[in-house]
Amino acid sequence: MSAAAGTPRETYLNAGFTLWSWLSSVDHKRIAILYAISITGFFFIGGAAATLIRLELLTPAGDLVSADTYNKLFTMHGVIMVWFFLIPSIPSTLGNFLVPLMIGARDLAFPRLNLASWYLYVLGGLFTVAALVAGGVDTGWTFYTPFSTMFSNTHVIAAAAGVFVVGFSSILTGLNFIVTIHKMRAPGLTWFRLPLFVWTMYATSIIFVLATPVLAMTLFLISIERFFGVGIFDPALGGDPLLFQHLFWFYSHPAVYVMILPAMGVASEIITCFARNRVFAYRSMAYAVLAIAIIGFLVWGHHMFVSGQSIYAGTVFSILSFLVAVPSAIKVFNWTATLYKGSISFDAPMLYALGFVGLFTIGGMTGLFLASLALDVHMHDTYFVIAHFHYIMVGGAVMAFLGGIHFWWPKITGRLYSDGWARFAAILIFFGFNLTFFPQFILGYLGMPRRYHEYPPEFQVLNVLSSAGASILAVGYLLPLCYLFWSLRRGAPAGPNPWHAKGLEWRTPSPPPTHNFASIPVVTEGPYAYATPEAAGD
């Protein structure tokens, strides 16, 4: 690092101004920014696809785009949103930025590996974008065989290669977090003094490391099968398409928890801060995080209740799916209880966090409908499923991601944004979201299948409502882009701790210096030690 003598104060932002100083930086904070920029780009590409999908569905006839284009649009929407936005969203940006700060470390354990992860992400993104530019992929993000291996005429291998590569980005990020959290905590920072956000990053990392390789190998198998015309997934070749589904969902169901666990961590940080209260039942919250991560591995077969898997498997996976809902329910109740006797203020991050709790509750509850065997038979692959997982992934994960961005923006940039605009955007997104996705529950129960380019006319009213909501949602997502950028130039200096929050990341200046802390802090109490009259419990 260049010694910047005479400048006001050395921060990670002014440690270098050239493009190369960013692209070659091994500072976890700079890498977090690199991720933030790239995932935002992908979010808007995926969002553009969603916009076109909702426009097409305004009318029952397939009149805006052709059937093939529509199929490519929802595939692109899924692939990009899942692998290039949602999965890396909180872990790679906020996690990268905050984990070392929250545990009082100078950086992640393997900074160069961290930079390599970002390059892998970019490389994977390039493959996928290349597949899109070359004409797209029409398999759906699930790559089901034998359609993907033998019947699709699109660029399946390139897209699979992109996901394969970005998978290694996930694995290496997870590895880095696990080692960092185990080995680099500040003196006195015991496991049960860790902020819940760090717990969720730890649990997420376990999923990254143990689930992602299975997806990678499965996509590799698909590509080879497609290329050489021999393989174990296509029944015409003697294979079993359900084997693909098992391997795929072994990764892709836990991947849902990769999206929602970090969101839960963010919500825990925000709610405690703005309720000025300790989190209710800290230890149960931490155990619930681990329980969700581990039981989350055991429920994948609930995606396959009507696939032709055995009814024994259906039974096992159904009951395990109910089990994973218990720790999620505990978390919702504990967040609510955290508000009790707090001193609550309603700054923008808090609105996002409360919105998250509400939407996640609906998303989680509707998941219970789908875990019920006989009921899932009716609702499987309908818009009910679409609505359910968007409540989890968009209502849950994206809402929390935005909440986290707003909460830590002053720390990351050293600037304050307009609170009024931010609250307005939060409320707009909440209503836009509900208008978009609530009608889809009804559509789903009516039986409208997912991935339909055309649909029976009696579904039109609900689809129009949904599309109307989507336009509000789009405005809601563009707003933060505007006022946050504005704050970069014009925002008032934030100071080290504008929210008077606890947590080590607030004990260093904003933006933090390259080495995070002038001296490594020593921790003497648990997290969330807000001024409640109670003595330290946990």
Partner: protein, 320 residues
């Protein structure tokens, strides 16, 4: 101005039972979501910053015990509800897993992007399924290419239709009318056009409909013709010189295999014996049968299966 339903029609007893699970979940989820929402709003107002609300609370072991009790309550209560609902939904699923023995069988083949169906009488239909009121109907389904899904929302049932395999679906319609039939598993370009209707008719009208059409021979008769055409009868026929397993009285019976195990001779078994003859060798026979994969279409194979079924009643050794 518009036909604007908010809840699907139902035309079977099962549909009502599935709906009741749905309504109970709706009530439970609604109650929980509402109470969480109300609590959040109440706390948010009462404990807003600067409000005069009392924020003192007891501390020490007494409170910790109270918190613990509350936590146990809101862990065990959902668990109990979940297990109950699991048991209910699962038992409904089991009840409906096996079709009744007297069900009327209809064969379904999914192909990109249409459904072809054939009744035992030989009457074929495309993207339409005519069924009689009040009689159990069993669909025996397979796919010619990719995975499809035969979805009948009005009966609250669906089932993936897989290539190289038979899956079944059954229902007893209890209301006349025209209802949606969807393909619910994404299958390529015209997935959303792989739709049709199921027509539930009064038994008499159905019988009349069934007798109509082109007067084609029954599936079994068509199967018998194919059986000769593809040369099956050369080995499996009564006067065959080659020693091959006899098919009379085979269907539905257990078959002893060369590896010591036994299987029931069902649709899947017949299908695989034609397409993958080396997979299950009948005990005492040489594995000499060639595979017909790529030569016999799935529809034709269904005719042959229906023919083998028709031999069920035939006395062993009977000639045709």
């Amino acid at each position: 101005m518009l036909n604007f339903p908010l809840f699907p029609e139902r035309a079977s007893a099962l549909a009502a039972r599935v709906d009741s699970v749905f309504f109970v979940w709706l009530a439970l989820a609604g109650a929980v979501a509402l109470s969480v929402a109300v609590l959040i709003v109440v706390f948010a107002i009462r404990f807003r910053r600067g409000s005069p609300a009392d924020r003192n609370r007891e501390s020490g072991p007494a409170r910790r015990q109270k918190d613990r009790r509350m936590e146990i309550a809101w862990t065990l209560t959902p668990l109990a509800i979940f297990f109950t609902m699991f048991a209910w939904a699962a038992s409904l699923y089991y009840d409906h897993a096996a079709p009744p023995g007297d069900a009327m069988e209809i064969y379904v083949v999914g192909k990109q992007w249409m459904w072809t169906l054939q009744h035992a009488s030989g009457r074929r239909e495309i993207n339409e399924l005519h069924v009689p009121l009040g009689r159990p109907v069993k669909l025996v389904m397979t796919s010619q290419d990719v995975i499809h899904d035969f979805s009948l929302p009005v009966f609250r049932i669906k089932q993936d239709v897989l290539p190289g395999r038979y899956t079944t679906l059954w229902f007893t319609a209890d209301r006349q009318g025209d209802y949606h039939l969807f393909c619910s598993q994404y299958c390529g370009t015209d997935h959303s056009r792989m739709v049709g209707r199921v027509v539930v008719m009064a038994p008499a009208a159905f019988a009349e409909w069934l007798a109509g059409g082109s007067g084609s021979p029954t599936m079994a008769a068509q199967g018998a013709a194919l059986f000769r055409q593809y040369g099956c009868s050369g080995c499996h026929g009564a006067n065959a010189s080659v020693r091959a397993p006899k098919l009379e009285g085979l269907f539905g019976r257990p078959v002893q295999l060369a590896d010591g195990s036994s299987v029931i001779a069902d649709e899947r078994y017949i299908h695989d014996s034609v397409m993958l003859p080396a997979k299950e060798i009948v005990a005492g026979y040489a594995p000499i049968m060639p595979s017909f994969q790529g030569q016999i279409g799935e529809d034709e194979l269904q005719d042959i299966i229906e023919y083998v079924k028709s031999l069920r009643a035939a006395a062993p050794g009977a000639t045709r």
